[in-house]
């Protein structure tokens, strides 16, 4: 996989993950072009399209579009299920995930994605194993922060 983009129906980018080196300018151009192309497609259309020399696989979940770019020899249907599994992971973690969760906890969305996909390839498909890794990290976070965050929030530090 070359990259994954999450964007809203209004065309706002919510998450971007690039697995190939590209300049910021190129990334912005690609994003603009793809968001426009995908949003212009009608609901019953096929989830795959050829774009430049890549294949774009996309699927809409509520207000969010998930969009992956894969190479010519990659498998379209399994990519569609990569998207679905990622949605399931987010859903399980946030408890019926919505766009807002991803906006406010974007860093978590990235962490979960890194556990699931690495370098554009599927790393771990077991939902349990992925969430276990994230859960462990959360535990570490709580241990580290509970004592100090109270002080911090009332501005004593």
């Amino acid at each position: 996989m070359q990259f994954m983009l999450l964007f809203s129906r209004q065309g706002k980018l919510r998450l971007q993950k690039w697995y190939v080196p590209l300049s910021d300018k190129e990334k912005k151009k690609i994003t603009r072009e793809l968001v426009q192309t995908v949003l212009a497609r009608k609901p019953k259309m096929c989830s795959f399209l050829e774009w430049r020399d890549l294949k774009i696989i996309y699927k809409r979940y509520a207000s969010l579009y998930f969009c992956c770019a894969i190479e010519d020899q990659d498998n379209e249907l399994i990519t569609l299920e990569i998207i679905h599994r990622y949605v399931e992971l987010l859903d399980k973690y946030f408890g019926s995930v919505c766009e807002l969760d991803i906006i406010f906890n974007f860093e978590k969305a990235y962490f979960i994605l890194d556990e699931f996909l690495l370098g554009g390839e599927v790393q771990e498909t077991s939902k349990k194993n992925v969430l276990k890794a994230i859960e462990q990290a959360d535990l570490l976070q709580e241990e580290a922060e509970t004592p100090r965050s109270v002080l911090e929030e009332i501005g004593l530090t």
Partner: protein, 960 residues
């Protein structure tokens, strides 16, 4: 999972995000962001040292701002500081920031690498994974340099945790993709293969991706993975849907792993071991069988996962192309999908069937679905699906269904989306030509193309129809009549005017007998379009007019008047003005005989590859069309690759630089040579190929006997090494001095196009004394006679002192070759016989046709050419200065295209092209990797033909 801990760590961040979301306008948002940036900047610059938590919070805010699309030019240092925090969550944010916002600031990279190094060494699996993720996300060369040797160790170490292994495998894959030269192969590679046996499914899933990538590079080193992959696949395929627990996805056992394993197997030919092969065939059959079983769930995820495996299995079956039974079953399965209610499945079935159509085993089975596919072209609502349908029709076309398919595509063209019209036009043009039985159908089809989609008909298409009409006299009358009728339309496309103008200029006489299309009617019809046309079309029409004067003397006054008018003879366009002036003069001065000679009917065009096919190839890159062409070479091969030659071998002569319709300048021929004046006639001498070895094989020694029989110093037989040296000089260039001694200088000039070439040899007598019995003879060492066809014309046996004579060689490459042809030159100088034998600088790369392609295509093709015998590689010491401009010039001279921005390492060179021979075309990819430190090069050639890879590699390696 408790919902409490989600992001509550940073309330400041949540507040900031809410603020941004509440902004009513873009301006307000920018204002809020600038305020925040100023705040963060002052915090970072402030005297008070920030604690880890605040640093984390601000870095996270910066990241959010960046992800909104704003530039961030500070904060990198603070993020790097977070990396060395011992608090997991701070470290994690630091890594995230680096992953998203890395720039190759060398100072920072050093610090980042340092932090990563510490985490890798920490033996804390969570930290190790974080750092591996970071390397995989950034994947820069600097990181590869720092860690490429460490990660393999982590990957195969016995005590590494599973999760770390998974990350290490994919991290290594990323580094290998960006900097393959930095990843050392070694003992670890064999152990990596055995990860296919790992108990942990996640480890296998990650490892297969790495192994697949490594296999593509060096299939031989990883051969053992085939049997391991087959047995793993077999275990998954035969397991019940619950056996694999969390690795079962909607009742499908391990779909991701299955797909990856099937992909891995596509790097290899079918397994040789019968047991392994049997087991694999069994797997493939089981997968096909499962497709027929009722679904275990109604969820689309179930059917997607199941079909993902099915399609990958079909890809493997097509890749093997050796199991007729499986191929036909695959085709039937896809046939069912063609009418499935899911658009996605219809799309994929059409796509997959395209490749099946090119297999001789399944071509017929694919053809049975023609009606469904035509229906898809007409009724699918999604243009991307219609495009697949058009592709499939093109792929399944053969002589039996060509008329139907072409007419369906033509009618689709009337409503086709603009984005795909040009491609459809090319496809129709190719099919019409390839499968034309009667050429009137072909002419009709192309004229229809111009009528329906004139704007999308490229030069190649209308050039080609003219070529064919000129070469086939049985269709000329029909063509003239048809274009005449087509031009009657009140609004006709300019391309129609071009074709009409050209054809009537050549063959208007064939319909002039009918008063409805008398010469003057024809002229008036054409001239009525004249003013609406562009300059190039007008220029063409002016030529038609002068041809008319020749064909129909009665039109002369009318046409002369037109030519004489100010709008022609004083036209502001130089080309038009010149034509008008010259044609007017020609028509008034020249006698009818001269006019008839000058304007004689066009000679037949040389037979060669259709220029349209070349264009489609250019669009798709080599291979794509090639495969299609070659795949369909049925035994009874009644396909016309182009038009059949109209006359005997004399017509199949090269005319390297003449453009199709002679609209541009004709090739300039060296004028020093005697008889060069009528070169165009002479060059195509009717010397039969076999008698190329010229007459005088009379008295003396010939090659083998060397100079022994003759007086001292007379023989110049070069020792073979030296001759090779000489040849090397000409591998990357076409002109120069081939040989020189005190008596004789031989210059060479050559040009090549497609599989044809023409070489001019200039023999210069450096003395003031006549050479007598001057006899050059071409000989073919080894098998060359059947690989290369050379035609020469004898030169005059006397070469005067100080004079230069020229000899022309016409060259046709029949198939790829290794040996260069030899030329033996014998002459008498002052009573002694001189005997010189040289290699002619004709090497296989001369028949290279450069091909441009994007990076994506290059790598895909590169991967496709994965068989060991398709690759030739040489590692060698540089014998010249390693200058990149010189290297580029050499590669271009060698004939391949030089592709920029393909290789991730800008120091490397990659090139692509097609070797054109009469019998086959061989797609070639090359890669040259210099190592300046070691003063070495590594050169890799991949082509579809072993001998070509080897020979090209050998030739090119001697150039640097």
């Amino acid at each position: 999972m408790p919902a409490v801990s989600k992001g509550d760590g940073m309330r400041g961040l949540a507040v900031f995000i809410s603020d941004i979301r509440n902004c009513k306008s873009k301006e307000a948002e920018i204002k809020r962001i600038n305020k925040e940036l100023a705040n963060i900047r002052s915090k970072f610059k402030g005297d008070k040292a920030l604690d880890g938590y605040s640093k984390k919070k601000y870095v996270c805010k910066l990241l959010f701002i960046f992800l909104l699309g704003h530039d961030i030019d500070f904060g990198h240092m603070e993020a790097v500081n977070l990396l060395s925090s011992n608090k997991y969550t701070e470290k994690q944010i630091g890594y995230l920031f680096i992953s998203v916002l890395v720039n190759s600031n060398s100072e920072l990279i050093r610090l980042i690498n340092n932090a990563i190094k510490n985490d890798l060494a920490s033996r804390n699996p969570t930290f190790m994974c974080l750092s591996l993720h970071c390397i995989a996300n950034v994947g820069s060369r600097e990181m590869a340099e720092a860690f490429a040797s460490e990660i393999p160790r982590i990957l195969v170490a016995g005590d590494t945790m599973d999760s770390v292994k998974q990350s290490a495998a994919l991290c290594l894959l990323r580094l290998y993709k960006t900097s393959p030269d930095l990843v050392p192969m070694g003992e670890w590679t064999s152990r990596v293969v055995h990860l296919l046996n790992d108990q942990h499914m996640g480890v296998v899933t990650a490892a297969v991706s790495l192994i697949t990538c490594l296999c593509r590079k060096s299939p031989d080193d990883f051969k053992t993975c085939v049997s391991l992959a087959v047995s793993r696949l077999s275990r998954i395929v035969s397991s019940a849907s619950t056996d694999l627990q969390d690795y079962t996805y909607y009742f499908v056992p391990a779909p991701w792993l299955s797909v990856k394993l099937l992909r891995l197997l596509q790097c290899y030919p079918p397994p040789e071991d019968a047991a392994v092969k049997g087991r694999l065939v069994e797997c493939l059959e089981t997968i096909l069988n499962k497709a027929q079983e009722p679904p275990k769930s109604k969820k689309v995820q179930h059917s997607n996962a199941k079909n993902a495996i099915l399609f990958e299995a079909i890809s493997l079956i097509i890749h093997y192309d050796s199991e007729p039974n499986l191929l036909v079953r695959a085709c039937n399965q896809l046939g069912q999908f063609l009418q499935h209610r899911e658009t996605n499945l219809r799309y994929l079935a059409l796509e997959s069937m395209c490749t099946l159509a090119s297999s001789e085993f399944s071509h017929e089975a694919v053809k049975t679905h023609i009606e469904t596919v035509i229906n898809a072209l007409k009724t699918e609502r999604d243009v991307s699906v219609r495009q697949r349908a058009a592709d499939l029709l093109y792929a399944m076309c053969d002589r039996t269904n060509a008329k139907q398919i072409v007419s369906e595509m033509l009618s689709y063209l009337e409503t086709a989306d603009y984005s795909i019209r040009e491609e459809i036009v090319l496809k129709v043009a190719i099919l019409a030509e390839k499968y034309a039985v009667d050429y009137s159908w072909y002419v009709d089809t192309i004229l229809n193309l111009i009528r329906i989609a004139g704007d999308y008909v490229s030069e190649e298409v209308w050039y080609r129809v003219i070529q064919i009409v000129i070469n086939r006299d049985d269709v000329q009358g029909y063509a003239a009549k048809t274009v005449f009728e087509a031009l009657q339309a009140p609004a006709c496309h300019e391309n129609m005017v071009k074709v009409g103008g050209y054809i009537l200029g050549e063959f208007g006489n064939l319909i002039a007998g009918d008063p409805r299309s008398s010469p003057l009617v024809q002229f008036n019809l054409l001239h009525s379009k004249f003013h609406l046309c562009s300059v190039s079309t007008r220029a063409l029409l002016l030529s038609t007019y002068i041809k008319f004067i020749n064909l129909f003397p009665e039109t002369k006054p009318t046409i002369q008047e037109v030519l004489r008018s100010d709008s022609q003879i004083r036209n502001s366009d130089v080309e038009l003005q010149q034509r008008a002036v010259e044609y007017l003069k020609l028509s008034s001065i020249a006698s009818t005989d001269v006019l008839a000679t000058v304007l004689e009917e066009m000679p037949p065009f040389p037979e060669r590859e259709s220029s349209i096919l070349a264009k489609l190839k250019k669009k798709k890159g080599p291979g794509a069309v090639n495969e299609l062409e070659e795949g369909k070479k049925e035994p009874n091969s009644e396909l016309n690759g182009g038009v059949e030659p109209t006359a005997s071998s004399t017509t199949s002569t090269p005319s390297p630089s003449a453009d199709l319709l002679g609209l541009r300048a004709a090739p300039v021929v060296g004028s020093t040579a005697p008889g060069a004046g009528n070169l165009l006639v002479d060059v195509f001498s009717d010397t039969p190929a076999a008698s190329t070895a010229l007459a005088s094989e009379d008295d003396d020694n010939f090659l083998s006997t060397g100079g022994a029989a003759v007086g001292a110093s007379a023989s110049e037989d070069l020792p073979i090494a030296e001759a090779d040296e000489l040849l090397n000089k000409f591998v990357c260039k076409n002109n120069g001095v081939l040989f020189e001694n005190q008596l004789l200088q031989i210059g060479v000039k050559s040009e090549f196009r497609q599989n044809l070439g023409r070489m001019y040899l200039f023999y210069g007598n450096k003395t003031s004394v006549q050479f007598q019995s001057f006899t050059p003879t071409v000989t073919y060492p080894g098998d060359l006679q059947s690989q290369l066809n050379l035609q020469t014309k004898p030169v005059h046996p006397i070469v005067e002192g100080g004079a230069q004579v020229q000899q022309v060689l016409n060259i046709e490459c029949l198939e790829d070759f290794e040996e260069a042809p030899l030329i033996n030159i014998k002459f008498r100088y002052g009573g002694t016989l001189q005997n010189i034998t040289l290699k002619l600088p004709i090497t296989i790369n001369k028949f290279f046709q450069a091909t441009e392609m994007p990076s994506q295509d290059f790598f895909q093709r590169w991967k496709q050419l994965c068989l060991p015998q398709q690759e030739a590689q040489k590692i060698f010491k540089a014998s010249h200065l390693m200058d990149s401009e010189v290297t580029k010039a050499k590669l271009l001279g060698f004939g391949s295209a030089l592709l920029e921005n393909v290789d991730p390492n800008p120091d490397n060179y990659v090139g692509a092209g097609i070797i054109q021979t009469k019998s086959v075309q061989v797609g070639c990819l090359l890669r040259l990797e210099p190592n300046h430190q070691a003063q070495m090069y590594r050169l890799t050639l991949r082509t579809s033909k072993e001998s070509v890879s080897r020979q090209l590699c050998k030739l090119l390696a001697q150039q640097f």
